[in-house]
């Protein structure tokens, strides 16, 4: 069953008199409960794709379908973790989470506060509940943002490099937490996950979409059994094969040296 689908979606920005195409006729469908990673070099259009899925940017052409229906604007069925931490500086870690929860309605503020505390605990931030963002490190702020979206329990999780600014140790903890939360849920969430980390993409995903030059270039299915455990996955032969396959795509991109914003 298809949960969400992009149909021939493009996004153009006005650039003076010219137009700049930030996304070029992208189409893909994601099944319910599927975990799909977007991978690709900087500027290839990953964040743009995610913003369109979130309903934060209307596509210039094409359609976003959710549960088969055309979707416009943001919705409670989707939760977003942004590439740049986007906590509200005037709210404490806990308040940042309850503000989102309150929009769902139906619970007393004490209950909301307790839920927020529980999710902060899960991302390893016990004792930091009442700290303001400026009192937290970048990685800690990102963990609050993750706790915020997890607490909302949306049907669809949209995550833009959520572990990009997190140190290696906490990255492992958070990846395992995400696996555990998703695998443990009988009503599996649908996740679109942007990352630069090839290991991470394979470990977490059912499919990896390789993007290049504002388009999707290859759709790589990751056929590894679930529930997944890092130790089991890393040692399989399949893992090495997938890793090589994706790295070859990057290597080709370097060799052909076309398209994406070139980093010197």
């Amino acid at each position: 069953m298809i949960k969400l689908e992009l149909k021939d979606v493009s996004l153009d920005y006005a650039d003076g008199d010219a137009v700049f195409r930030a996304l070029d006729r992208v189409s893909f469908a994601v099944a319910r409960g599927e975990f799909v990673s977007l991978i690709g070099s900087s500027g290839c259009g990953k964040s743009t794709t995610l913003n369109i899925l979130a309903g934060l940017k209307p596509p210039s052409s094409g359609q976003l379908l959710i549960d088969g229906l055309k979707s416009v604007g943001t919705g409670k069925n989707r939760g977003v973790v942004f590439q740049h931490y986007s906590l509200f500086p005037w709210l404490t870690a806990r308040q940042n989470i309850t503000l989102g929860l309150r929009q769902l309605g139906g619970q007393s503020s004490r209950e909301l506060s307790a839920i927020a505390g529980r999710y902060l605990d899960r991302v390893g931030l016990t004792g930091f509940e009442d700290k303001y963002p400026y009192q937290l490190s970048g990685g800690m702020q990102q963990r609050v943002a993750i706790a915020r979206v997890l607490a909302l329990r949306p049907e669809i999780l949209l995550m833009d490099e959520p572990f990009g600014a997190v140190d290696a140790k906490n990255k492992i903890i958070l990846q395992d937490l995400l696996l555990e939360l998703l695998d443990g849920d009988e009503d599996r969430k649908t996740v679109i996950f942007v990352t630069h980390d090839v290991n991470e993409a394979i470990l977490l995903s059912d499919r990896v979409l390789f993007m290049r030059n504002k388009r999707i270039e290859e759709d790589i299915a990751i056929d590894l059994p679930r529930p997944r455990k890092r130790e089991d996955i890393y040692n399989t032969k399949a893992f090495g094969i997938y890793y090589k396959k994706i790295m070859v795509k990057f290597y080709q991109a370097v060799k052909e040296n076309i398209g994406d914003d070139v980093v010197l």
């Binding site: 942004f82 500086p89 005037w90 709210l91």
Partner: protein, 310 residues
Amino acid sequence: MKALKNAAGAAHIKWKALIFKALPHLMFIALLLLISSPSLVELKVRGAFAAVAVMIELALLCNWRSRSAHDLVMMVFAFLIVWEVVTTKIPNPNKMLFPPPENVFAIYYTDWKKIISGIFSSLFLLAYGAGLAFVSGIVLGLTVGWHERLRQALFPVAKVISPIPPIIYTPYAVALLPSFKIASIFVIFSSIFWYLFLNMIISVATIDKKLLDSARSLNISPWGLMRHILFPYCLPGIFKTLPISMANAFMVLTAAEMIGATSGLGWFVKYYSDFSDFTRVVAGIVLIGLVVSVIGALLARLDKLVIRWR
């Protein structure tokens, strides 16, 4: 030998610091001696001035750790000593224009009823006008700043009106409006409102796009957006303009009182200027300075209390 010399040097520095620390207290004693010594001009009451000096000294003793309090008190005492000496210890060129501090501070004792009612009538008008200006400035600023079309229509209007100094139309407002109260509330209101309104529009319109996306992704309601995102985002800016706004408001209020009032601090100064009673004029000016400073200090404290996220 060398060690001894070093010790002597250290002791020397220590002495210097100690004298510096004691300086305001020595000045306090000097001031009391000056007050009690004979004066060239006739003094009515000396007690009020002495009491003020004692109060300043006590305030310093309560804040004896604070370097800035130490320096400030030193400056105040220096000023009072010069004032005292110039007006009472050397031949005073014009007793009417240069009233001795004893007589000035005695006014607070003899005229206290008039002064208290003056402070209250001024502060009442100030609270009224400023309250109206803040509530409407914030609500309208948020709304207009947020709605593109309203902003484009009203921003130029605010930009033209806000730089007109309200003191310019204060006399006209007093003449035009039916009562002095309404006129002064109006000028206080306009001295704060336009500047605040303009600032709110600009800061709402330039809010960080990432924060807005973050708020939108939480499906926040339009009211929630105003209350939980835009308002707190603008709050530090509001506090930043607050001291200037309040000083401006006080300026137009006192100006209005000088024209049309029958009570209030501005009226007090103006009324006695007309009689050339400069002792009371100086007392009124000092008092206005004090009231403005106290309001400023309270606002600064409120700022620290409210803006805890730096």
